[in-house]
Each structure stands twice: as structure tokens, then as C-alpha cells.
């Protein structure tokens, strides 16, 4: 039996991705149109990255007057440096916590807003707001909120017996930057999760309701599996965010302290290179950071993507 397969309507409700092909008559025009973006990428990304790779093999004096090739010396020293290895494990804690917290909160908010009919737009606007706040401002904001002498939060925390001082307590400092970094990222995750939830066909939820599945069960049995492409995408984006883009938040709240307790890899790159003027080691660190992210992304694509339902 069965009709010709090309007549099948797309039952998921998501249209097939027919890419439109535009033909240019002038062969140079496409390159010309790409040129500005390529130029910016080359000058601000590729060239500095190449420079970093190059200088990671060199020793340079702080004034840039003499440069000597030292091979893998910087890399070798990094792996012998307990400070670096500590920063590595701290970054792992930070990345996992921020990714988990911001994705869970984003999903929770998205699931709540998805249930609203009319007021949804208002909540969406409010929830997206933090994303527009500059990272440094976000950092300062949380620094104020948790300031041990003037902040609002330590005042309340004291009432439940918690003595908050992130200037002295390294764990508390880590919690602070995790909260600040996650807070900024919740908006982004929320938006994508909401869009994902709203593209789940209503009839699927209705069919599941008739099949005797309650709202919570429907969420876990139907919505969540159908969200897996979104979840996978956000996972990669969030890991990249915590690795690279959290520098301003650390700098504005804890400055890597106390006693290096919040010095993540990206912050250490800045400390050693910009403050310590050890350009060679700093370059080696940024190259390693880049490699770590590349490996993580590769692993995610290789092993996690298989489990994703498209």
C-alpha cells in the first residue's frame, strides 16, 4: 500500500528547510558582499588568534624589545603549575554550574510562559531584559546586591544564619560569579526554549492529553524530547559563553579573588598577560582554552548529537 512518499505532508509541522538559491550574474559580487565581514573576521579574530599561537612559542620581554623562540616551554610549565591546574578545575565547576543553572532556569521560565495566553508577551519582555544589560553592569549589580557591608542579600542571609562575605570566602565568591553569569544567560536560554516549546504542535499535546498524560508528564514525555535540538544547541552556546564571555562579570564582581578562588581560565589569561605581562604564558593559555572548547564542541557533536531527535 502507501501513497508516493513525496506527497507526505510534513507531520511535525515544521516545514522542510528548502534553501533558496540565488544566482548572481556577476561572479565578483558575492565576494564583494562577503568582503566586509571577512575583513573584520580576519583582522579582529584570525590574525590575533594566529598571533597568540605564534607568541605562545616565544618568550618576549615586557617592552617587546626582544623575542626568543622557546618551543613548548610555556605549555610544559603550565601543566606543572598548580595554579593553572586549579584554575582548570575551578573553570570546570564554574562552567557546569552556570550552564546547568541558566539552562534549567531558562527552561523553567519558558515552560511557565508557554502556558500563558495573553500575559506571555509581558513576561517575555521582562525576562529578556537582563540580556541587554552590559556584562560589567550585571557584575556590578550583583556585587552591590551581595556587598557584605551594604548589600541587601547578606542582610537577609544573616537572618538565616549565613555569614556572607565573598571578599573573604572563596566558595561564596564562586557562588556569586555563578549567579551573576547565569543570570545574564537565562534570558538567552529562555528565548530559545520558548520558541522551541511554541513550535511543538498543539495537536500533539492534545493527543497526549487524550492518551491520559497530565501536564507534567506531557512536558517530560513530549515537549522535552522535541526540544532536544534546542537543548543541544544551547548547551554548546552556554559552554562557550562560560569559557570565554564571563571575563567582565568576574572582573566586575570578584577580580578573580579572594586568593584566586574565582580565577577562571579566561580570567587567568588576562591576569598573566595583561597584569603580569607574561605574554608567552598568557598566549599559551588562550591557545589551550581555545583547544579545550574545540574538543568539548567536537565531543558534543560526536556523541551527544546522536541522541538528539530532529
Amino acid at each position: 500500500m502507501a501513497g508516493p512518499p513525496f506527497l507526505c505532508p510534513d507531520q511535525s509541522g515544521r516545514g522542510s528547510m528548502d534553501t533558496k538559491k540565488t544566482t548572481f550574474n556577476n561572479r565578483l559580487l558575492p565576494y564583494l558582499l562577503l568582503a566586509p565581514q571577512l575583513f573584520i573576521t580576519l583582522v579582529f579574530f584570525i590574525w590575533p588568534a594566529a598571533q597568540a599561537v605564534k607568541s605562545s612559542f616565544e618568550r618576549e620581554d615586557p617592552f617587546g624589545l626582544s623575542t626568543a623562540f622557546v618551543g613548548l616551554l610555556h605549555y610544559q610549565r603550565l601543566f606543572e603549575d598548580p595554579n593553572y591546574l586549579d584554575a582548570l578545575s575551578r573553570t570546570a565547576v564554574f562552567a557546569v554550574s552556570v550552564t546547568a543553572l541558566s539552562m534549567l532556569l531558562g527552561l523553567a521560565f519558558a515552560a511557565s510562559v508557554d502556558r500563558l495566553v495573553r500575559s506571555g508577551k509581558v513576561y517575555t519582555t521582562l525576562l529578556v531584559w537582563p540580556y541587554a544589560v552590559a556584562p560589567v553592569v550585571a557584575g556590578v549589580l550583583w556585587w552591590f546586591l551581595f556587598n557584605s557591608s551594604t548589600g541587601l542579600m547578606p542582610f537577609f542571609l544573616e537572618k538565616i544564619g549565613i555569614d556572607w562575605d565573598h571578599d573573604l570566602n572563596g566558595t561564596q565568591a564562586m557562588i556569586l560569579i555563578i549567579i551573576a553569569a547565569a543570570w545574564k544567560q537565562v534570558s538567552y536560554n529562555f528565548l530559545f526554549f520558548l520558541a522551541g516549546l511554541q513550535s511543538v504542535p498543539q495537536s500533539l499535546m492534545e493527543a497526549a492529553a487524550i492518551d491520559g498524560s497530565g501536564p507534567v508528564k506531557r512536558f517530560f514525555n513530549i515537549s522535552l524530547p522535541l526540544l532536544s535540538p534546542t537543548t543541544f544547541f544551547l548547551f554548546i552556546i552556554n559552554v562557550n559563553y562560560t569559557m570565554f564571555d564571563t571575563f567582565p562579570i568576574v572582573d566586575a564582581t570578584t577580580v578573580g579573588g579572594p586568593a584566586q578562588a574565582t580565577t577562571t581560565l579566561v580570567y587567568k589569561v588576562y591576569q598573566d598577560g595583561y597584569l603580569g605581562l607574561n605574554l608567552g604564558s598568557s598566549s599559551a593559555q588562550s591557545v589551550l582554552l581555545m583547544l579545550i572548547v574545540m574538543v568539548l564542541t567536537f565531543v558534543q557533536f560526536r556523541y551527544v548529537e546522536r541522541r538528539v531527535q530532529y
Binding site: 500500500m1 501513497g3 507531520q11 500533539l204 492534545e206 493527543a207 491520559g212 498524560s213 522535541l226 531527535q309
Partner: protein, 367 residues
């Protein structure tokens, strides 16, 4: 197994729009009811209220004698087949069929047995391990049916289940649905805008228009004695010819033609006259004549539809395929085949086609 009683049900949306207007239908156990009407007539809304997917604004729905107004869809003991099938894309066919049973805590062995039985009935056994996206439209349709039948519900609800299929497949699936429903004997409500689908599937048709019931009856009753001009023009293909006429004494005037009415005329003054294309035939010598100027002819193979003008009114007649059609035809119609409708509100006047109705009732009983 259970009957469904819909009593004075209305759907009123915010702003006072009445999508469904006090509809009452008594559906017997095992009956196949088809709700038919143009888009926006409220047929889907009515079905969704029975399913529990829409709140009931007024009135009462009971399934198997229990009022279900306040029950969740899952508690109503119904199964629904959706227009886009609504199969869970991330589950295999087996999981799709088993989901409803699993949610109700059915033992694994029984789930296996029921899924196997449904799959065999629908001939989808070899696809049980596939995901829906690897199936054709017709196969997905079967899986959607399977998901409904494994639960052995009190009633099936169908929401335009065939409208996503191509024409040929639609005809064969139509037959399968009918056969399956007969075999299982499950009370069914089926929504469609396709009058042919409605005619072929229904034990009883419910013709809806603007949220109200225009007529309830067996397909042939509705066909042979439409309750209004709306039903007359909606049911049957080609649509019934509706022309303006006037009754003076015993004579009916349609354009230039005058027809003598035997017996008491059903009304007097202006009326709307309904004539089925297949009831029109060529006039023999001495019969009343409706002179038609031929406009164009549609050849359908088994049948040939002649469109033309009688006076200044369009008329379609079904003519045998073996005759030569010139520029004009002399048509006639048996008087008992005439339908009269009020010119003001379109409601049927008198019984008109008593003979035909009696014949159809007999036909239904012998079938």
C-alpha cells in the same frame, strides 16, 4: 461501548461570538455520525467539546450516560484521530500505540497483545519499530487509527482525518474506516467538510451551518429531502439546482416554463424550486417543457453535465452520454421530484418528495 448525548451545547467565545449554537444530537451506541458543513460552521469546535479539548459554554455532553462536562479528556473514555495525525515524532510506531495504555498502567503483556492486534488489523505490523517520519501519509494515517483503537474506547472522534491524503488514498482509507468501525461497533463522530465523505461514511448526517444544525438524517434522507436551501446546495454533487419560481393556483412558473401541479400546491406566490441534475430528463411528446439554452457541457465519462439557461436562470442537467447535444434542450422533471423552499428563509415547504423518501427508507432497511 456507549451512546453520546449532546444536549443544548453552545460555544461562546469572549466577545459573545457563538461558534456553536445550542446543538442537540442523540447518538446511539455504535452509530457512525458525521458532522458536515463548510469551514467555520462549528463542526470541529463541537467535536473538540465532546473530546474535552474545548470548554463547554452551555449545555451538557454525556458519554455512556455520564455527564462529562467537567472531566479531563483522558477520563472521557474517547480516542481521537487528528487531521495532521499528531503522532509523537520521537517515538516508534509501537511506542505511539502503547503510550495511552502505558499511561493508564496497563500491564506490559496486555499492551503487547493489544498493539499486536491493532497492528495486524491495520496491516502496520512491519512498521512497529519505525519512527513516524519514515512512514508515508497513508501509513501515518493507519498508525493514528491504531492509536485510537488499541485503547478500546467508548467512542472514536475523527477530526477531518483524511484531508491530508491524496484523492485516491482518501477513497480507500474511507472504506477502511467504515469497515473498521462496523467491525468494532464503536460509536463514532466524524467531522468533515467533504460532502461525499459524509454521504459514504455516515449512518446519520448532521449538517451544520453557522453553528446551528440545519438537518439531521440518514444520508439518503438528507439527499432526497433537504431541509433547507443550504442543505440542498451543500449535499450532492453536482449541487442541486435552486431556481426562483412562482406558484399561481395550480401552476408553477419557472422562467418561461409553466408546470401543472397535480393535487394541492404546497404554497402560493414566490418560492425557491430545487431540481436535482439527475432528475431532469429529456421531455417526451406532450410533456411540460423546460426549454434550456445550452451553455457548455462537462464530460465526466459515466455522466455528462449540461449547463445552460432556463429563462435567465442557470441550470445543470445530467444527461446520458449517448445522445447528441445541440444548442438547446427540452427538459422535463417528474412532479414528485420537485423540492420547494420558502423564498424568504430557505426552509423546505411540504414533503414534496414523499415517494422518493419512502423508497430510500426501504432501501436503507434492506441494506
Amino acid at each position: 461501548m456507549a451512546g453520546i448525548k449532546i444536549a443544548g451545547v453552545s460555544k461562546i467565545y469572549a466577545g459573545g461570538v457563538k461558534a456553536v449554537n445550542s446543538v442537540s444530537i442523540d447518538i446511539a451506541d455504535g452509530e457512525f455520525i458525521v458532522l458536515v458543513g463548510p469551514s467555520g460552521c462549528g463542526k470541529s469546535t463541537l467535536l473538540r467539546m465532546v473530546a474535552g479539548l474545548e470548554a463547554i459554554s452551555e449545555g451538557e455532553v454525556s458519554i455512556g450516560g455520564k455527564v462529562v462536562n467537567r472531566m479531563e479528556p483522558a477520563e472521557r473514555d474517547i480516542a481521537m484521530v487528528f487531521q495532521n495525525y499528531a503522532l509523537y515524532p520521537h517515538m516508534t510506531v509501537y511506542q505511539n500505540l502503547a503510550y495511552g495504555l502505558k499511561n493508564r498502567g496497563t500491564p506490559k503483556a496486555e499492551i503487547d497483545a493489544r498493539v499486536a492486534e491493532a497492528a495486524r488489523m491495520l496491516e502496520i505490523t512491519q512498521y512497529l519499530e519505525r519512527k513516524p517520519r519514515a512512514l508515508s501519509g497513508g501509513q501515518r494515517q493507519r498508525v493514528a487509527m491504531g492509536r485510537a483503537i488499541v485503547r478500546k474506547p467508548a467512542a472514536f472522534l475523527f477530526d477531518e482525518p483524511l484531508s491530508n491524503l491524496d484523492a485516491k488514498l482518501r477513497v480507500s482509507m474511507r472504506g477502511e474506516i467504515k469497515r473498521l468501525q462496523r467491525r468494532l461497533g464503536t460509536t463514532s463522530i466524524y467531522v468533515t467538510h467533504d460532502q461525499l465523505e459524509a454521504m459514504t461514511l455516515a449512518d446519520r448526517l448532521v449538517v451544520l451551518n453557522g453553528g446551528r444544525i440545519e438537518q439531521i438524517g440518514s444520508p439518503l434522507e438528507v439527499y432526497h429531502a433537504p431541509a433547507s436551501t443550504f442543505v440542498a446546495s451543500f449535499i450532492g454533487s453536482p449541487a442541486m439546482n435552486l431556481v426562483a419560481g412562482e406558484i399561481h393556483g395550480n401552476r408553477l412558473a419557472i422562467g418561461p416554463a409553466l408546470i401543472d401541479l397535480a393535487g394541492a400546491p404546497p404554497a402560493s406566490g414566490a418560492v425557491t424550486v430545487g431540481l436535482r441534475a439527475e432528475d431532469l430528463r429529456l421531455a417526451h411528446e406532450g410533456e411540460t417543457v423546460l426549454p434550456m439554452t445550452v451553455d457548455y457541457v462537462e464530460e465526466l465519462g459515466a455522466q455528462r453535465l449540461v449547463h445552460g439557461l432556463v429563462g435567465d436562470q442557470m441550470l445543470t442537467a445530467s444527461m446520458p452520454t449517448d445522445m447528441v447535444i445541440g444548442e438547446s434542450l427540452s427538459l422535463t422533471i417528474d412532479q414528485d421530484r420537485l423540492h420547494f423552499f420558502s423564498a424568504s428563509d430557505g426552509k423546505r415547504i411540504g414533503s414534496g418528495t414523499n415517494v422518493a423518501t419512502d423508497k430510500t427508507t426501504a432501501a436503507v432497511e434492506t441494506a
